[in-house]
Every structure is written in structure tokens, then in C-alpha cells.
């Protein structure tokens, strides 16, 4: 067995799906190859570490998170329906422009692939698979740490969220749930900041706005207002106006809301 072959079988080795003969052959290679042996032990430790992460039991939070996502969708849907029904892509001129654009992109890709053909050689599938695996692993780490009993561990989970893909809806959902339901003020604060990683998603602004109307801890309210200003979300104005005029709200929060209104105009 060559080192190349060994590398392709490492995952099967760790997950014990090589079969008896395969495993014997693999072990024989390990015995003769120092490089592979050290790699197997190094990455293997990480692999087993993942095993040790506690299984995520569907808790009450999953339900909360689901209804939060649903709420955000409904709000989004309502906002979309409120706009004029005519979508830009239904206008013939735009359709023709889009078609022309697609042809140009297609030609570009064609040239690119032909030009770099040998460089790509067989790798893309594996690279993208690897990238996906890494993304899944980060998601897993972030999600499971955010379920831990210790606030320090949940804070670590929130900082792992910065390493998730900006399109990762699972992690976004977990952050929104932490902002709304985590028992610890500091974890809620950190989760609000981490939402910036997902600022490209329209759900982020909606979730922040929804949370601002529910949140009662002043320092978290301040963090949410900062986030809404950074997202430049014009839909935040009515809620900010309500908050700045709310006599029962914390004085600092009211000042901050007033400040944010000026920034958003």
C-alpha cells in the first residue's frame, strides 16, 4: 500500500469500516511508514475527540429555535408580499439581459476550465468534499458547545460560530436562540456580536429586531441596537422610536435608541 492509498483509507480506518483484511493491510503500512503513523495518531485523536462530544439531545430549545425560524420566515414572507407583486425577473428586458449574462458567464467558465485544465486535475471533488467536512465539523463544535451547562463553554461555542460558513442556517438559528433564551447575560451579549458573521442574511436583521422587542436586559438591548445600526436596517426605525419614547425602559437604552435613530436616518 502506498502512502497515497493509505491516506484515502484513513477515514474508513477511524470509523472501523475497512474490514479485517483491509485493517491488517493498513496496519502493515503504518508499521513501515513513520509519516502516515504520525498523521493517523494526530488526526485520529481529533476524530476520537469528536466522538467524545456529548450527543445533542433534542431539547426544548430545538422547538424554540424552530418556531423562531418559522416566525422570521413568516415576517419575511409578509414583508415580501407587502411589496409590489411585479418582480424584476418577470420583466422581459431583464430576462434577456440575464440570459445574455449567463451566456457570458458560461463562456468565461469554459475558457477558464480549458485554460487551467491540468491544474484542476481530479482534485475539485475531493477539495470541496473536504471543505464541506471541515464546515460540518465547525458547525458540530459550535452547536454542541452552545448546548453545554457551563457559560464559559457556551461562550466558546459562540466564538466557534465565527468560523462557520456565513450561509450556515443551523448555526445562525442556534445564535438567535442563544440571544433570546440563554440564561446567562454574557452569553447573550456574545451571541448578539456573533450575529455579525451572518449579516448578509436578511434573517439576521429580522431576528435582531424581533429580539430587541423581547429583550429586557439593558446591556443586551444596547448590543442589539449597535448590531441594527451596523446592519443599516431601515426597518429598525419604528421599534427604536418606540423604545426611545418608552418611559419604563432603561435610561441608557433610551439614549442609545435615540442615537441609533439619528445614525439610521
Amino acid at each position: 500500500m502506498t502512502c497515497e492509498e493509505a491516506k484515502t483509507r484513513m477515514t474508513d480506518y477511524w470509523s472501523r469500516t475497512l474490514g479485517e483484511a483491509g485493517e491488517t493491510e493498513f496496519n502493515a503500512h503504518l508499521a513501515s511508514c513513520e509519516t502516515c503513523r504520525s498523521e493517523v495518531s494526530r488526526v485520529g485523536a481529533l476524530w476520537q475527540g469528536l466522538d467524545l462530544l456529548p450527543l445533542e439531545e433534542p431539547s426544548g430549545k430545538v422547538r424554540d429555535r424552530f418556531y423562531e425560524m418559522l416566525g422570521a420566515y413568516r415576517q419575511g414572507l409578509a414583508a415580501a408580499e407587502a411589496r409590489p407583486a411585479k418582480r424584476w425577473w418577470t420583466i422581459p428586458a431583464w430576462q434577456m439581459a440575464a440570459a445574455a449574462g449567463l451566456v457570458a458567464v458560461g463562456l468565461g467558465i469554459g475558457y477558464g476550465v480549458r485554460g487551467n485544465g491540468p491544474l484542476f486535475g481530479g482534485a475539485p471533488a475531493e477539495v470541496s468534499q473536504l471543505r464541506e467536512e471541515v464546515a460540518n465539523m465547525r458547525q458540530l463544535v459550535a452547536l454542541s458547545l452552545m448546548q453545554q451547562q457551563s457559560a464559559s463553554d457556551r461562550l466558546r461555542g459562540v466564538s466557534w460560530a465565527y468560523r462557520a460558513e456565513p450561509s450556515d442556517r443551523e448555526v445562525l438559528g442556534a445564535l438567535v436562540s442563544a440571544v433570546n433564551h440563554d440564561a446567562n447575560v454574557n452569553v447573550r451579549l456574545a451571541a448578539v456580536d456573533a450575529l455579525r458573521r451572518f449579516s448578509a442574511s436578511p434573517e439576521t436583521g429580522r431576528a435582531a429586531l424581533q429580539s430587541l422587542s423581547k429583550q429586557t436586559t439593558p446591556i443586551v438591548q444596547v448590543a442589539l441596537i449597535d448590531l441594527l445600526v451596523d446592519l443599516k436596517d431601515p426597518q429598525a426605525a419604528p421599534e427604536l422610536r418606540r423604545l426611545s419614547g418608552n418611559e419604563t425602559a432603561n435610561e441608557g437604552v433610551r439614549q442609545k435608541a435615540q442615537w441609533a435613530l439619528e445614525r439610521l436616518q
Binding site: 457551563s150 457559560a151 464559559s152 463553554d153 461562550l155 466558546r156 466564538s159 446567562n184 447575560v185 454574557n186 452569553v187 451579549l189 456574545a190 456580536d193 436586559t217 439593558p218 446591556i219 444596547v222 448590543a223 449597535d226 432603561n250 441608557g252 442609545k256
Partner: protein, 284 residues
């Protein structure tokens, strides 16, 4: 001569009395109480069920000032005037009956799976709750109207108060602390490697002392205050207004809103947040 003898006898008798052990009190027999409780009327002693495993203390109260100290022992010792209050109520229960609308009153102490929980969530009363636990115990405290002080503890420490100040001193491990209107004071002799920490207050100052060799990524957010430190902090977000000016012996970092920086090359995340207070980060 006779008088001298008499005097000597009296002195001897007093000495003998002093040397006598204090008369043993009869433990109050009450089915509602933990059998491990101490006989002292204002004190409860609870054993952790598995001393070799990690211990945890959870305290929830509305009105009490909470003081927790690590000591060289293996039980949790809880002292409070709320305990005698509870005992008094329990003594008043007529034989064979149980309370219906009396409210629990006082304080409740339970132990399960190595977690000792002390809760006094009635809005009645106030005063202090003093708790001693083994030094290596993780501690979680929530209070509303009074302060929290944690001393000489090694573990994961989580403290929260609304109107009181919170302080963690002489401790090690990791701290997550918040107070809405009070000051947050933390002095750590040693930090647990790889642990994230966070300190926040709406109206109070954040005053944190860390070991000189700590490796950390700092995130410092102030709205109406400033950040001061005598650590050599490498500020990493140059995009913000971070004009530095020397004042006295410490370097003053003036951030626009959030300042990011690293100490000793960086490490786990440490977050400092205050709206009206200032942030002080001392080197121990």
C-alpha cells in the same frame, strides 16, 4: 491560709468548667430537613455525594447578600438568618399536618449529583447568606437586590446580580460575571487554559486583574467610558479610533466603541462590556 485555699479551689473549678466540652445539643428532628444538617440553628452542613467528582454550588436569591469562600474541607456549610427563620416556621407546623398557603419562606438547600443548590427566592427578608465550600468547586450565583462576593475558589465561576456589585477575588479557573447597576471586580491568580471569559455591566465599572503571563484575545466595548490597562496590549482593529495616550504609568486606550487586542500573542476570548462604566484591566 483558708482563704487562699478557697480562692485556689474556685479558680480550679472555673478552669475545669472551661475545659468541659460544651453540652451536646439535640439535633432538631424534622422530616423536611436534610439529615446531614448541622444542629446550629442558623447553619446547615451538606455533604457532596461524590467527593472525588467535580463539585458545583448553585445559589439563587432575590434579596440576600451572598458570600462564598473556599475552605479546607469537604462539605458545603451554609449560614444565614434565613435558616433559623425557616426552622421557626417548620417548628410551628402542627403534628400530622403540612403547610398549604404558608409559603416556603427562608431558604432551601438540596444536594443532587454533586450539585448543592441553595435557593431563597421569596421576596421576604434579606440579610446575608454565607457559604463555605471546598476550594475546588464550580460556583453559579444569581441575585437581584444585593451583592455577591466569591473568594478563594478554583473552578468555573458564574455570578450575576441586578442591583448589587459582584466580586471574585483570590480565585482561579474561569469567570463569567455580570451586574446591571453594580461594579464587577475580578482578581484571578491563575486562569484555566482554553476557557472563554466575559465581564459586563450596564452602569458599573469592570475592574479585572489577570496573571501577567495570560494569553488572551480581548474584546472591549464601552459606550460612555474608557479602557485602561497596564498590560502590553496589541490593538488589532486599527480601523477604529484607537489613538493612544500615556497617562501616568498605564497606557490609555481610547476606543471608539469596540476595541480588539491581544495579550502575550493571543488566546481564548475575553470580553469586557460596559455602557456607563469604564474598563480597567490590571496586570497581577
Amino acid at each position: 491560709m483558708n482563704r487562699f485555699l478557697m480562692g485556689g479551689m474556685i479558680v480550679g473549678m472555673i478552669a475545669a468548667l472551661g475545659a468541659l466540652p460544651a453540652p451536646a445539643q439535640n439535633p432538631v428532628q424534622n422530616p423536611l430537613q436534610n439529615p446531614a444538617e448541622n444542629q446550629n440553628s442558623a447553619q446547615i452542613t451538606v455533604a457532596f455525594s461524590n467527593p472525588s467528582q467535580p463539585r458545583r454550588l448553585v445559589v439563587k436569591t432575590l434579596m440576600h447578600k451572598v458570600t462564598i469562600k473556599g475552605y479546607d474541607g469537604k462539605d458545603a456549610i451554609i449560614e444565614s438568618s434565613a435558616i433559623s427563620e425557616r426552622r421557626r416556621r417548620e417548628r410551628n407546623i402542627p403534628p400530622g399536618m403540612h403547610p398549604l398557603n404558608v409559603g416556603r419562606g427562608g431558604i432551601e438547600v438540596t444536594e443532587a449529583n454533586n450539585v448543592v443548590t441553595v435557593s431563597a427566592e421569596t421576596p421576604l427578608g434579606g440579610g446575608d447568606i454565607q457559604i463555605q465550600v471546598p476550594v475546588e468547586t464550580s460556583v453559579t450565583v444569581n441575585t437581584i437586590n444585593n451583592g455577591v462576593s466569591v473568594e478563594n475558589i478554583s473552578g468555573e465561576i458564574e455570578v450575576e446580580s441586578v442591583n448589587g456589585g459582584v466580586s471574585v477575588t483570590n480565585s482561579s479557573g474561569s469567570v463569567v460575571a455580570t451586574s446591571m447597576n453594580g461594579k464587577v471586580t475580578v482578581v484571578l491568580d491563575k486562569v484555566a487554559p482554553g476557557k472563554a471569559m466575559s465581564f459586563s455591566s450596564m452602569n458599573g465599572t469592570i475592574d479585572v486583574t489577570l496573571p501577567a503571563d495570560i494569553k488572551a484575545n480581548l474584546k472591549m466595548k464601552v459606550d460612555n467610558g474608557d479602557v485602561y490597562t497596564d498590560f502590553d496590549v496589541k490593538v488589532t482593529n486599527e480601523a477604529f479610533d484607537t489613538t493612544e495616550s500615556k497617562t501616568g504609568k498605564g497606557v490609555r486606550i481610547r476606543g471608539n466603541r469596540t476595541t480588539y487586542g491581544t495579550i502575550n500573542g493571543g488566546g481564548p476570548e475575553m470580553q469586557f462590556t460596559t455602557f456607563n462604566g469604564r474598563i480597567l484591566i490590571h496586570k497581577k
